[in-house]
Amino acid sequence: MNFKQALTAVGVASLMATSAAHADNLVIATVNNGDMIRMQGYTDDFTAKTGHTVEWVTLEENVLRQRVTTDITTKGGAFDIMTIGMYETPIWGKNGWLVPLDDLSADYNVDDILPAMSGGLSYEGTLYAAPFYGESSMIMFRTDLMEAAGMEMPEAPTWDFIAKAAAAMTDRDNEINGICLRGKAGWGEGGAFITAMSNSFGARWFDEDWNAQFDTEEWANTLNFFNDMMSASGPAGFATNGFNENLSLFQQGKCGMWIDATVAASFVTNPKDSTVADSVGFALAPDTGMGKRSNWLWAWALGIPAGTQKEAAAKQFIEWATGTGYIEMVAEKEGWANVPPGARTSLYENENYKDVPFAKMTLDSILSADPNDSTVKPSPYVGVQFAAIPEFAGIATEVSQEFSAAYAGQQTVAEALEKAQALTNDAMEAAGYR
């Protein structure tokens, strides 16, 4: 044991003695995103500070969602902390399945959480999950290719501009696709993208009486525009591309533009992984002049299942992981560009963070998305790229499968919309909405 370790040990011992708390072992279910994996590397710091140990269950997003949903609905108690999103939190909070986070310490400063984030992670004003990082979506584009195409990206472009620029940047011989977007089936993949995009075309999922709206012109416009643009300027096989596939393509320099999660900005500007790190520009997600942009709002957050025996320790962990201390620790060790973004106001007021190239655009994007008012026409649901009702995930996955089949040319856009309309109304009827 070296000196530093000895000091830590003494520190832990005294801390444990003074707080007289016994050490717990927390089981945490989490998603395999870069920021979460980075956090796992810092677990020792948490253990040193509190004496509690942590065991991670890291799963791919879809598997994670099934796993934690099964556990929470059956009160299985397999996990002490679950990583969940803006979709699950209000639904679970309403059912009383999560421990309300209304008694976090003063040091933690709950009011510092961005209002857009805490709003989306609350039910009736009570916070049920603390955001580890928050995101919206924005345009990431290659400044060099844009210049070569003789165009200039406005700060807030329209979809028409994007389609033009995409066509101009496309260079099939050199394997450069003007635009890369998600076409992959799944409500959290292509489903999320097309829903956010449809908002800017004036479409909505449901009218005020929960009738599906896929038979409207707005949806036809959305889907046709997307499909035409991607067929002309998108990568081969875009119907199976999700976040990771597109990130990989962009990092290899095969995309002119990419509209996706703001967190991706730190990956595409990181010279270690990205071949185009020094020529990436950012802009707000496009619109069509109807008053809504096509960016979403999401947070990966930590919640505590009701009924856990380790509530106190779990809260300690949440304060550690989502507090400002963690951000400072990561900034000190790995640089400000690598801290978890989008969760706290103070981060965007920090002078050091202002130098990060994508900081301002991330914040602007987050601030321009409003889950309570996301559609041009009135809608009965909360959520930008989803509707926060329990049935949505199942329905939207099936709908997006129909859309992906249209992207792949297996059916026409009109057929896809017709099927989407029928199956959505069907499911809503089964759930007793209609």
């Binding site: 609905t73 059956t74 992959k184 089936a185 081969a236 199976t240 499968q401 792949a408 199956l423 069907d426």
Partner: protein, 279 residues
């Protein structure tokens, strides 16, 4: 009967009873329905709704296509490969090891490897190959989705078929073969009249065992297409109803249908191939 049978009966009956019970109930866990609060009886509503869904018949069709195609491919290629491997050659042991290897690979891993490193239309090795020959790379999982799934699953099960059939061929009485060779019987008729009948029982076993596993193929689809592009099998549809839509009642009704389908296939198999087992 022995403890194994009793245990298996228990294993069969408890979940089966539970599935039957849930299939008549409205059970939406995310809406707060739970066993403690009591579940609402809804009669046959779940059954009619499950069949009424536009996804139902396509999913049955997809299931049968996948099972049928993989069976045909593995049996035919298996017989041909077994015939080849039965010939004298150098390094037969190593070739056997090469061929049996896919059988040991986890379905999840084989799905991931095929999807990403082979079938990816940009970075996949098949795309490199297509481009090398000047062809436009095929978008496997969207344009030839069902064929791709069949290819992956066949890759996993071909070793199984080949090795069973090879063992069967090797047990063939060589004197009988040599005698027919002396008679000047052409290779094809030798195959048709002596080898193939001898393989009957082995082929039966291959079909029976593979059908059992193929009817519940899941990981390969989940990892590659997630049920999109017409690759939704009945098993996958039930998964969607239970876990993605969180409608346990509806999914349970689907489970009952799957049991019925499995039993139809089983009876069919018993009629057609069961007799072969007695020989």
């Amino acid at each position: 009967m022995a403890p194994a049978v009793i245990l298996l009966l228990g294993w069969m009956l408890v979940p089966l009873t539970a599935t039957l019970y849930f299939s008549f109930k409205k059970y939406l866990p995310l809406r707060g329905d739970s066993l403690e609060n009591g579940l609402e009886w809804v009669g046959f509503q779940n059954y009619t709704r499950f069949v009424g869904s536009s996804s139902f018949w396509p999913s049955v069709q997809t299931t049968l296509i996948i099972v049928g195609s993989v069976l045909v491919i593995t049996v035919i290629l298996g017989v041909l490969l077994a015939l080849l491997l039965d010939q004298p050659m150098w390094g037969q042991g190593i070739v056997r090891i090469l061929i049996i290897s896919p059988f040991f690979v986890m379905p999840t891993v084989s799905g991931l490897v095929w999807k990403n490193m082979f079938m990816d239309p940009i970075n996949g090795i098949l795309a490199h190959l297509f481009r090398f020959f000047g062809a436009e790379p095929l978008q496997w999982l969207s344009q030839a989705s069902l064929q791709s799934i069949v290819l992956i699953v066949s890759w996993q099960w071909l070793p199984f078929a080949t090795l069973i059939l090879l063992t069967a061929i090797q047990s063939l009485d060589s004197e009988q073969l040599e005698a027919s060779e002396m008679d000047g019987a052409p290779a094809l008729s030798r195959f048709w009249h002596i080898i193939l009948p001898h393989l009957g029982r082995a082929i039966t076993v291959v079909i029976l065992i593979q059908t059992i596993f193929l009817l519940s193929v899941f990981a390969e689809i989940f990892v590659t297409t997630a049920g999109a592009f017409g690759t939704k099998t009945l098993t996958y549809l039930i998964f969607q109803r239970v876990l993605e839509s969180q409608n346990v009642g509806l999914g349970s009704a689907g489970g009952v249908y799957a049991i019925i389908l499995a039993n139809i296939v089983a009876i069919f198999l018993m009629r057609i191939v069961g007799k072969n087992l007695d020989r």
